[in-house]
């Protein structure tokens, strides 16, 4: 299974050159770029961990690529994404966000259907990886 989230989710994974170009695009627009990582692939998971601080004063993508390389080294088997934050016009919002690293093996999601009144169904999506405790997910042994 191949997790798709954020901008460019319909494309094959970006190469490092493409990542660099996207980051430079964001920086050129004055957006601050942050690197985040997580081991919980659920689409509604908003609690990704920040890798360092958002890079407010950086003008060149090389700086972000250097941090990304270090984040990958520390978390080779986790999801890592790059987000660009646009603070202009009081927008206070993420302008761009895409996955730049993923576990070697992505087990996917279990879809659970719960019947309730009047034959209605509630759906729950649960990642197989998240069945294991934090820190044990996406390890080679499972």
């Amino acid at each position: 299974m191949h997790l798709t989230q954020g901008t460019f989710s319909y494309l094959p994974p970006l190469t490092d050159e493409e990542i660099r170009a996207q980051v430079q695009y964001a920086l050129d627009r004055g957006w601050s770029v942050a690197i985040e990582y997580t081991d919980d692939p659920h689409p509604r998971n908003v609690y990704w961990s920040l890798w360092g601080l958002p890079m407010f004063d950086v003008t060149d993508a090389a700086a972000v690529m250097m941090e990304l390389e270090q984040c990958r080294k520390a978390n080779p088997n986790l999801y890592i994404r790059i987000s660009a934050y646009d603070r202009s016009k009081g927008r206070q919002t993420t302008a761009l966000s895409f996955i730049v690293n993923r576990p070697a093996h992505e087990p996917g999601f279990h879809l659970e259907r719960t019947d309730f009144a009047d034959r209605q169904i509630r759906y729950t999506v649960r990642s197989y990886a998240a069945n294991r405790p934090i820190g044990m997910r996406y390890r080679d042994d499972g």
Partner: protein, 305 residues
């Protein structure tokens, strides 16, 4: 065949464009900075290399991008910071740096106060400088051999790593006094070997300082009367012999004070209306009033004004 010819044409034009930029920048440097012969020569050499490299690349020849980390040594006020700024601009215009900005840092910006504080601080500065030039003033303060727990060494190690791995992403310029810089390199041979260009900024001669003074005044729409010119030369000769002489910076400061006295004199003179000539011309009084010019040496040896 025809295609080939037109391609060659555009290639040549392209490089000629770069060459023209280089010539223009060097001409401006010559005009706006007095003296500094060895510095200008080295900048010219670097600019030539970048232009030729571009040409070589267009002909499919190997042109590995050169390492341009530098060390500027020289006494206070000899133009190190000024040249670093120019260097950032030149490297950008010649296509070596992507951004062309200059980030200035000293020990306090790089070295932390406690364990784990230094690496993020140093990296922060390095990241800001990427795409441009990182200028580290008085770099030897990073290294304090007398304290083996000093965090400066950690900053130096990160610097070395980035200078090596990110050669295409930033240029590091270290600056400081020559003898202290020498001692710093003795303790950090790795740093010395990563710096390709060691450029020494000589002290200015009296003639050069006079020329710098005139240039500074002209930029601010002032001029010296012939008598004031003589007075200034005398002032410079005396000032040079005194402690804390800071080359061109001392000249700039002296001229600032001359401007103050010039304004006071004009208002006190009661002359109305004041002509444009009055407003522009510095007279000897403005310079002779300096403490440096007083005959009693007491005042001279204390803080020179």
């Amino acid at each position: 065949m025809a295609d080939n010819v037109s391609m060659l044409d555009t290639e040549t034009k392209h490089t000629e464009g770069l060459d023209a930029i280089a010539q223009e920048m060097l001409a401006r440097l010559d005009k706006e900075l007095v003296g500094l012969k060895p510095v200008k020569t080295r900048i010219r050499e670097i600019a030539s290399l970048l232009v030729i490299d571009r040409l070589r690349r267009e002909h499919g020849l190997v042109a590995e991008s050169p390492s341009l980390h530098m060390c500027f040594t020289g006494n206070p006020g000899t133009g190190k910071t000024t040249v670093a700024l120019r260097m950032a601009e030149i490297l950008h215009r010649l296509g070596y740096s992507r951004k062309g900005h200059l980030v200035t840092a000293t020990r306090d910006d790089l070295v932390g106060q406690y364990v784990g504080h230094t690496a993020p601080k140093t990296k922060e500065v390095l990241k800001r400088a990427m795409g441009g030039v990182l200028f580290i003033d008085e770099a030897y303060y990073l290294y304090r051999p007398e304290n083996e727990r000093d965090y400066g060494q950690e900053a130096i190690e990160i610097l070395l790593q980035v200078m090596e791995n990110n050669r295409d992403d930033l240029v590091v310029i270290l600056a400081g006094y020559k003898d202290r810089m020498e001692r710093f390199f003795q303790g950090n041979p790795g740093m010395k070997s990563r710096i390709t260009h060691h450029i020494d900024f000589p002290d200015y001669t009296v003639d050069e300082l006079m020329e710098i003074a005139k240039l500074m005044l002209a930029n601010q729409h002032y001029r010296l009367s012939p008598a004031a010119e003589q007075a200034l030369r005398l002032y410079i000769e005396r000032r040079m012999a005194q402690p804390n002489f800071a080359n061109a910076r001392s000249i700039r400061n002296a001229l600032e004070r001359a401007r103050l006295r010039h304004a006071s004199r004009l208002l006190a003179s009661g002359k109305r209306p004041l002509t444009k000539d009055d407003l522009m011309t510095i007279e000897p009084e403005e310079i002779l009033a300096s403490r440096v010019m007083r005959d009693d040496n007491d005042g001279m040896l204390q803080q020179a004004s």
